[in-house]
């Protein structure tokens, strides 16, 4: 029954979205708003349970009194619930898998790690943007995030995207296994060189320099065309997916 209902809802919402292709209408608006709301709720829930809870809240120490006194919301702070030696996730307190008697006798566990108070403080500093007098403090966690991301990505980009790609650009043109391979290597070399010349703006693009730059434009156009072609293919695949779903729905009816 639930599956049938799901198929019907999916099919009707698909048709509602498709109806926009004719013209804007209330069915499309309803489906669009529903999608936006459900997506926002889903991602908010996912972000909390997959990031904030396991990476922060579940690692902080909370007094037993707070955990017990917080009632149904205590699962937010509890990492694990131990009942008769069996471990459950924190949300077992509210998902109905444990009886009130079991919860009363359960041992509530947090993974206590003092170092997690640093991200907690940094995270809270983001909210200082709401107080103009100390808003500058919000730059500190931002600086941390930017520094960490830059440090993490710099060397991998240098290795994988710069060094390796330069190496694969400059390959032998003569003496290759096949003539086609040599021609291919030459095209890659010319394309990269001409593309780089196009993006060199410290000199006016005229004469020989302008001609090479123009060749660069042609290579870029080919690359954009390939990217566009693949994008069209991807979008048709998505359409195909919805049509397959609609076909299954119709097959179920007739």
């Amino acid at each position: 029954m639930a599956e049938t209902l799901g198929i019907w809802v999916a099919a009707l919402l698909t048709l509602a979205i498709f109806s926009f292709l004719y013209k804007d209408n209330p069915f499309y608006k309803f489906a669009e708003h529903l999608f936006t709301g459900v997506s926002a709720a889903y991602w908010m829930s996912m972000a909390f349970w997959s990031q904030v809870h396991p990476n922060l809240f579940g690692n902080l120490w909370w007094p037993e009194g707070i955990l017990r006194g917080w009632g149904e919301f205590s699962y937010i702070w509890v990492d694990q619930v131990i009942v008769d030696g069996v471990r459950y996730a924190g949300n077992a307190l509210v998902d109905g898998s444990l009886s009130p008697a079991q919860i009363a006798s359960a041992q509530l566990v947090n993974r206590i790690n003092p170092s997690y108070y640093i991200p907690l403080v940094l995270g809270l500093l983001f909210f200082t943007r709401l107080i103009p007098k100390i808003a500058y403090l919000s730059r500190w966690p931002l600086a941390f995030v930017m520094g960490m991301a830059a440090g993490l990505r710099l060397y991998v980009f240098l290795q994988s995207n710069a060094m390796e790609q330069i190496g694969s650009t400059i390959k032998p043109v003569l003496g290759t296994a096949t003539v086609a391979e040599g021609i291919n290597n030459l095209i890659v070399l010319v394309g990269v060189f001409a593309g780089l010349v196009y993006f060199y703006f410290s000199r006016e693009h005229k004469g020989v320099f302008g001609s090479i730059s123009r060749v660069g434009i042609y290579f870029l156009m080919v690359s954009f065309g390939a990217a566009f072609g693949y994008t069209v293919m991807a979008r048709i695949s998505l359409l195909l997916g919805r049509f397959v779903s609609l076909k299954a729905w119709l097959a179920g009816i007739f």
Binding site: Y230, V232, M233
Partner: protein, 283 residues
């Protein structure tokens, strides 16, 4: 008004209708079209074929429901090949929705079709937040990154994880990717720094981003979009691994017709534009 002038002012809804029909009709009356296996797809097969039986392959699911029509057929075919070669499959997800995608396909292929034993032949470690940091983390330890699997049991307790401490113990990585984090991150944080062989099955949108890694040898081939999946299905059928062509080929005939219609409209639109411009210059 001439025919070409009418065409150049054609209501876009007629184009939508034509595209819809070109996709829908081949689904109602399916037919097959010739498929030529490209060198990139050959490379994927060659890389997987070269693995000794019983190797440990890490499959990462980085796609969701919206990209399922493209990536699911290739995941289906790749898992079929891995299972028939008796490789051990460790599944993990860098996307939260990947967990559902992985569960769905493992239920169908590993459990339903081949009756593999969970925890011995394959395992689903699930999703861990952190994007590329998760890749860096499994390079140090699988069990610390994933203390429990999707069934809530200790990862270290499963037979398949015995002797698998970190990325160094993985023989091959396969990324089913639809964006960030995905194949690019696997190249940057696993394949290159730890010299691990990697292949990918990704959405068509990603192909131009990933192909440079294929040309440089950082990635062993690529299954690009639905066409890549269709080619791989053909290859596996010809090798006797798949009994019949799968969902990708069914979709590919519809896709090909839709492409022809789009190309036709582009040609007609350009001819109409050029003729109109010439006529305007004349008068």
């Amino acid at each position: 008004m001439s025919f070409l002038a009418k065409v150049s002012r054609l209501d876009r809804r007629w184009i939508y209708l034509m595209i819809a029909l070109s996709v829908a009709l081949p689904l109602v009356w399916p037919f097959s079209m010739p498929v030529k296996v490209s060198p990139h797809v050959q490379s994927v097969y060659a890389a997987l074929d070269a693995l000794p039986r019983g190797s440990t392959v890490l499959c990462s699911f980085e796609y969701g429901p919206s990209t399922m029509p493209e990536v699911r057929p290739m995941a289906d075919a790749v898992l079929e090949l891995l299972i028939q070669r008796e490789h051990k499959i460790i599944v993990m997800c860098l996307w939260a929705e990947g967990v559902f995608m992985a569960r769905d396909i493992l239920d169908d292929v590993a459990d339903g079709r081949h009756h593999l034993e969970y925890g011995k032949d394959y395992i689903n470690l699930g999703y861990k937040a952190g994007n590329e940091v998760v890749i860096k983390s499994i390079a140090e330890s699988f069990t610390r990154t994933y203390p429990v699997d999707t069934r809530g049991q200790a990862t270290a307790s499963y037979p398949i994880m015995q002797g698998i401490e970190n990325l160094a113990n993985i023989d091959f990585i396969f990324s089913f990717s639809a964006g960030y984090p995905g194949t690019v991150e696997w190249v940057q944080y696993a394949a290159d720094p730890y010299d691990k062989p990697l292949s990918t099955g990704c959405t068509a949108v990603q192909v131009t981003e990933v192909v440079p890694y294929v040309h440089s040898g950082q990635c062993r081939g690529i299954l690009g979009g639905l066409s890549g999946a269709a080619e791989f299905e053909h290859l596996l059928r010809d090798k006797g691994i798949l009994p019949a062509l799968g969902a990708a080929n069914t979709g590919m005939s519809a896709q090909s017709i839709a492409h022809l219609v789009i190309v036709l409209f582009i040609v007609i639109g350009n001819v109409a534009f050029l003729v109109e411009r010439r006529r305007q210059r004349k008068y």
